[in-house]
């Protein structure tokens, strides 16, 4: 009708350059790593890096939903320690009844998932039903889970029975078609997460909630339930991550999972999700997790500097990775 209206045919969805920022940073790191050490791209090293990214990665996928919906969860690291502790104690206690074998492992996995979901439910309930600021709830539960773990372990370490552990170990170290289980699980979680974020009503509702709670409410989105669901989902994923973690180290203590929360949140944000909520990118989170793991790996490959400065180099690279993203944006 009026010729001044916006053109009907829009340029096709171009993936904006700045969205590619984290990917560029990741590629830069890979090139750097490969040029520093010829073993960097060896199957062994790649498997190591991917498998160890899996814990934080699985958690960070859940964190993406929480942050997209405008929340935050500081308790995931200590929740992981707690879930691992409970899982180990439960498995040790069940050995007399179940013996060492697949049933024991499955029972342990169930316990871990249930504990994770329950922990997430408690956080979610306090945040969405009682209405306490997420930062405070999860800061509180961070202290609570950490100290419960220490208490369960009597100040020391909770260890899985050695034989059970040997039986369980392949869940971390073996895999399918030469791909380690943690990598497979992480990949599945990432793909499902990306689908859930982009292709399901739940993902949209998370974004709407984070963008403008009032609007979401007026649009008949069940705000409380969606918010709660993000925390429960995250709790469940913490449980899943723990299932992968326990066969690796076979133990849990008060220092298990320290700072995982910061790492997970950093991965989410490096990946391009906005801390204040409203839009989330699961694939970005995966890239963010890989960036963080690679930094550590490369520092070990190179041993160029004093180990005291590792933290500084890490910090600089994290900032640079995000600068790359911003540069892309302003050029856009």
């Amino acid at each position: 009708m009026t010729d001044t209206a916006a053109p009907a045919a829009r340029p096709r969805r171009r993936l904006p350059l700045h969205a590619l920022g984290p990917l560029l940073a990741l590629i830069a790191l890979i090139i750097l790593g490969a040029s520093l050490n010829s073993n960097f791209l060896s199957a062994g090293n790649v498997t190591n890096v991917l498998a160890r990214s899996a814990f934080i990665g699985i958690i960070a996928v859940g964190m993406t939903f929480v942050i997209t919906a405008g929340g935050i969860d500081l308790s995931v690291g200590s929740m992981a320690a707690f879930v691992a502790g409970v899982m180990i104690m439960a498995m040790n206690a069940m050995i007399p009844a179940l013996g060492i074998g697949v049933p024991l492992i499955l029972a342990g996995m169930l316990v871990a998932l249930a504990a994770g979901l329950a922990a997430g439910l408690v956080n979610g309930f306090l945040i969405s039903k009682v209405g306490i600021e997420a930062f405070i709830v999860t800061l509180g539960s961070m202290g609570i889970y950490r100290s419960l773990t220490t208490w369960l372990a009597d100040g020391g370490t909770l260890s899985l029975d050695y034989e059970a552990r040997t039986f369980y170990r392949p869940v971390y170290y073996d895999g399918l078609f030469g791909i380690a289980w943690p990598i497979i699980v992480f990949a599945l979680v990432a793909i499902l997460g990306e689908l859930a974020m982009r292709k399901t009503p739940f993902g949209r509702h998370c974004a709407a909630l984070g963008a403008n709670e009032q609007v979401a409410k007026y649009s008949a989105v069940k705000v409380d339930r969606v918010r709660m669901a993000t925390y429960v989902l995250l709790g469940g994923l913490v449980g899943l991550a723990t299932i992968m973690y326990v066969p690796r180290l076979g133990s849990a203590s008060g220092s298990t999972g320290v700072l995982w929360e910061l790492e997970a949140i950093a991965a989410v944000i490096i990946g391009g999700t906005v801390l204040k909520g409203g839009s989330g990118r699961v694939w970005g989170t995966v890239v963010g997790v890989l960036i963080l793991s690679l930094i550590d790996n490369i520092l070990n490959l190179a041993s160029i500097v004093s180990p005291y400065l590792n933290g500084a180099i890490q910090g600089v690279i994290v900032i640079l990775a995000v600068v790359l993203q911003r540069e892309g944006k302003s050029a856009d």
Binding site: N37, N39, F40, S42, G44, N45, N48, R52, F55, T150, D154, G155, G156, T157, S159, Y162, R165, R169, Y245, R248, L249, G250, S251, S253, G254, S255, T256, G257, V258, L259, D296, N297, N300, L301, S303, S306, P307, Y308, N310
Partner: protein, 293 residues
């Protein structure tokens, strides 16, 4: 001639003792690299057990190490990964904290945690009498801290010494300062303090002198931090003794491992560095002004 790579994995310098350990590790590596051109070292420091396992995996996968020197962040979680290293035919030296399965390592170099608690406890038993009151500042809740405290408790058992309170000072000066301040508010009569670590002793001493109760009690720390040793040498009455737990044990371990790599010298076995009592008389021997610890 082929260069051999030795991997060294230790916890990062998060408190005084570990700082000293980091210092000695780096010093030993520098020294050895200069002495043996055919040796290369990879040093990795970790803030938690998981990261330490990652570091070890990286050393094996990308640096082709032929020997590993490891101070396990925690015993249990490191046992299987170190076992895997051993199974790959790599020499393993374990320092300080034993693995939870015996017989994995080729060489074990350690301080004596039980001894560390016991020697301190024995001094308390000698110097105090029945009915005297003490307070204890514990470290970060870990197995290691448990071992020390258990040994200490066992040593004073039956002496009639009253343990008024134990709280975690986390091997940290500030935390120890706070906890000690509160102990001083809470208890009017304290005769001695076991601070279990010289960092915590430093904090505790400060809190005591702030409260003006210097004359009332003495403090026993541990691990022989240079500032504390200096004060002992100067005859500080509040610091009657100290107990060694040398961070330099890492240097011993690295040197022995290196020796084993470059020569046929047999170096496998166990090497326990006992915890000794430091007194003002022998303090001079334990004073290393150049160490950061």
């Amino acid at each position: 001639q082929d260069t051999k790579v030795i991997g060294v994995a230790i916890p990062s310098a998060t408190h005084g003792f570990m700082g000293g350990l980091n210092y000695h590790a780096q010093a030993a590596i520098e020294r050895l690299e200069a002495t043996y051109p055919s040796l290369d070292f990879v040093l990795a420091t970790a803030g938690d057990a998981g990261k330490m396992v990652n570091d070890i995996e990286d050393m094996v996968a990308t640096r082709n190490i032929s020997a590993l020197v490891v101070l396990p962040f925690e015993s249990e979680p490191l046992t299987a990964p170190v076992q895997a290293v051993k199974d790959a035919g790599i020499w393993v030296t374990v320092v300080d904290r034993g693995l939870s399965v015996e017989g994995i390592e080729d060489l074990y170099v350690a301080g004596d945690n039980t001894g560390f608690g016991r020697v301190a406890g024995e001094y308390f038993a000698e110097a105090l009498k029945e009915g005297d009151n003490i307070v204890v500042l514990r470290g970060i809740p870990t197995t290691l801290d448990n071992e020390r405290v258990d040994a200490f408790t066992a040593a004073i058992d039956g002496t009639g010494i009253n343990v008024l309170d134990m709280q975690h000072g986390n091997w940290n000066r500030d935390d120890a300062f706070n906890v000690m301040q509160d102990f001083l508010s809470k208890y009017d009569d304290i005769d001695a303090v076991w601070a279990a670590d010289d960092d915590m002793a430093t904090g505790a001493l400060e809190a005591i002198s702030q409260a003006g109760r210097d004359g009332e009690m003495w403090v026993v720390g541990g691990a022989g931090m240079k500032q504390i040793i200096k004060r002992m040498m100067d005859g500080d009455p509040m610091l009657p003794v100290n107990v060694t737990y040398p961070p330099a044990q890492i240097a011993t371990a690295i040197e022995l491992t290196a020796l084993g790599q470059v020569s046929p010298t047999p170096v496998s076995g166990r090497f326990i560095i006992g915890s000794q009592r430091i007194t003002p008389e022998n303090a001079e021997q334990f004073y290393f002004p150049d160490s950061p610890f």
